[in-house]
């Protein structure tokens, strides 16, 4: 088929996004679940609470900490990833840095906000799904954020020309096959503005392609925000109706 990717999407098509708030009724303050295609992520947020250790106490703001857990069955191969795994630590740092700047931490001095992310299934765009899930869980927990943080991936086919002789379009929201095949990046923005809070790329790409990739990623983020916003409103409306009865 002309112009379609291996899963039948066009270059600018997102995968199906399904999200839910307040998924866990345990002692987490906020929780969420997100599916982006076959990437499935669960997130719990606790806090602001008493810091778990002395080092985490900041006199004038809250500490944001992040724990990432890969389910052993989440990928194509069964891999157990421990606490000190490079991949786990990289994700933790990325999520923690992203949200430290977005959460209004100055409102909660000497406390800690813990984001714990459980990756249940990986099909490309794991970091993006983690960031989106964390945003929803933080909103559910009632923690003040400057805006939604939305993340999306974009890839670039390595061929110089497509069939018509033009330079190929970047691909939005790459899946696992595409991610292992072509260079891709993850971009996270503040809401639907063009302010980037996280940008992560693990491959090499021609410099002139980069701008188009980022641009496609940013507009993907705006779409993701709209989808998440709709779910937050739906959830909120449902909750208000129940309380109003």
């Amino acid at each position: 088929m002309e112009g379609l990717r291996n899963d039948g999407r066009r270059w600018n098509e997102l995968r199906r996004i399904h999200c839910q708030l307040s998924t866990s009724s345990t002692n987490a303050d906020g929780s969420s679940y997100i599916e982006q295609g076959f990437t499935k992520v669960l997130c719990n947020v606790t806090g602001p609470a008493e810091p778990s250790s002395r080092q985490k106490v900041k006199q004038d703001s809250a500490t944001v900490s992040c724990e990432v857990y890969f389910a052993a069955f989440s990928g194509t191969d069964r891999i157990k990833r421990g606490r000190n795994d490079k991949k786990v630590q990289e994700l933790q740092t990325a999520i923690q840095k992203t949200f430290s700047s977005i959460i209004l931490t100055h409102l909660f001095s000497r406390s800690e906000i813990t984001i714990s992310v459980h990756i249940l299934s990986q099909d490309g765009g794991t970091l993006a799904a983690c960031i989106n899930a964390a945003t929803l869980a933080l909103i559910d927990a009632g923690i003040p954020l400057k805006d939604y943080v939305c993340a999306c991936t974009a890839g670039q086919s390595t061929s110089i020309f497509d069939n018509e002789g033009a330079s190929p379009d970047p691909w939005l929201d790459v899946n696992y096959l595409e991610e292992s095949d072509i260079p891709s990046l993850t971009v996270a923005t503040v809401g639907d503005s063009e302010k980037i809070v996280a940008l992560n790329m693990e491959n090499k790409v021609r410099i002139e392609k980069l701008e188009a990739m980022i641009a496609v990623g940013i507009s993907g983020c705006a779409k993701v925000r709209a989808i998440m916003d709709k779910e937050v409103r739906r959830h909120g409306k449902q909750k208000l109706e129940a309380q109003g009865e």
Binding site: L104, S219, G236
Partner: protein, 349 residues
């Protein structure tokens, strides 16, 4: 090779109004991607009187003052006007010229006079640290509890050495928020016979926002099936304790009706007040305590605020469900049915 057909994903009703279904980016005339980000941010919640979400501009009008749950945006041009932006998902509340956002779900923020149920985290030299589900743990000073031997007794160094005989780690207690420091740290007191150590029951937690503030947060319920009376301590912080009823020693007097002097009363009370031993609780009472706990849990899970009326109605509905021969936990919908039945009862009055 057999052909495998994967069932399509179920249609998501939430996408109904969205013409694009959130899956494609529009192209404008010259083939570039249409940048949705350039459009001004919507202010939907304000118009519909519904919900605002983080990043939504609440107002650009400079006459409003910003309250909780909002922040001032950076002006687009230097010296330009700042707008009030929401930082939470919740409803707008206006108090005169103060705009604030009340979140749908939030952690407990202590206020003076709140009745809270807490758990001792740590024993220090002259105080306890108590978990009350707030951002910071509260403190309970040795001087703000009822010491055995009467209210007028002087606190001695022996009491400091025996601090664990009053409360030790893990003990549950009901207390009142006495003072708040500048940074919101709560200090508790139990200097009333209404407050003190909890026993003879079960502890449960719900979201802090799900407990409606009432005149009294200690309920005594007459239960059926030979359960006798049951006390419910509905902590404002979302911690709840449900226990077998014990006759409180009130200042009106002892069981014979003649009044006891306050000091004598304190002495009598103090002997039992810090005991860690549960009384004998009959299986009937245990069953009714469990039923009440399930009702409160079901109310909170289904988004109905817990208050005295709802606990009573929910309990009645649960009993009716029980009489129909359905057991709790036999199916996942029982809680929902009970809550709905309770709401019907409330509407009927």
């Amino acid at each position: 090779m057999p052909i495998q057909i994967i069932a399509p994903a179920p249609f998501v009703a939430a996408d109904e109004e969205d013409d694009e279904g959130g899956v494609s980016l529009g192209l404008d005339n010259d083939g570039d991607i249409a940048m949705d980000g350039d459009a001004p941010r919507r202010t939907v919640g304000r118009q519909t009187g519904g919900i605002v979400t983080p990043g939504e501009v609440v107002t650009e009008d400079p006459q409003w003052m910003r309250g909780h749950g909002t922040y001032l945006s950076q002006p687009l041009v230097p010296g330009g006007s700042q707008s009030i932006v929401s930082s939470l998902a919740g409803t707008i509340s206006k108090t005169n010229k103060l705009l604030s956002i009340r979140a749908l779900k939030f952690r407990y923020v202590p206020e003076i006079g709140d009745l809270v149920v807490g758990r001792i985290l740590e024993v220090q030299t002259k105080r306890w640290r108590v978990d009350i589900a707030a951002p910071h743990s509260a403190t309970l000073l040795l001087s703000s509890i009822n010491l055995p031997g009467g209210i007028l007794r002087k606190r001695t160094s022996t009491d400091e050495l025996q601090i664990r005989t009053f409360f030790s780690e893990g003990d549950l207690l009901v207390a009142e928020v006495q003072t708040l420091s500048n940074d919101g740290l709560a200090s508790l007191h139990t200097r009333s016979l209404k407050y003190g150590k909890l026993r003879n029951g079960v502890f449960m937690t719900i979201d802090a926002g799900m407990v409606r503030r009432m005149k009294s947060h200690v309920l005594t319920m007459n239960t059926s099936n030979g359960g006798g009376e049951v006390d419910i301590y509905l902590g404002v912080n979302g911690y709840i304790y449900i226990a077998k009823h014990t006759t409180p020693l009130t200042e009106s007097g002892g069981p014979e009706g003649k009044s006891v002097s306050i000091t004598r009363l304190e002495e009598e009370a103090s002997e039992a007040i810090y005991s860690n031993v549960n009384e004998e609780i009959s299986p009937e009472t245990r069953a009714e305590i469990a039923r009440i706990a399930c009702v409160i849990g079901a109310l909170a899970r289904n988004g109905v605020k817990v208050d005295e009326e709802m606990v009573h109605l929910g309990y009645e509905a649960a009993l009716e469900e029980f009489l129909q021969g359905l057991e709790w936990g036999s199916d996942g919908e029982a809680g929902k049915r009970v809550v709905e039945a309770a709401l019907v009862k409330r509407r009927e009055g």
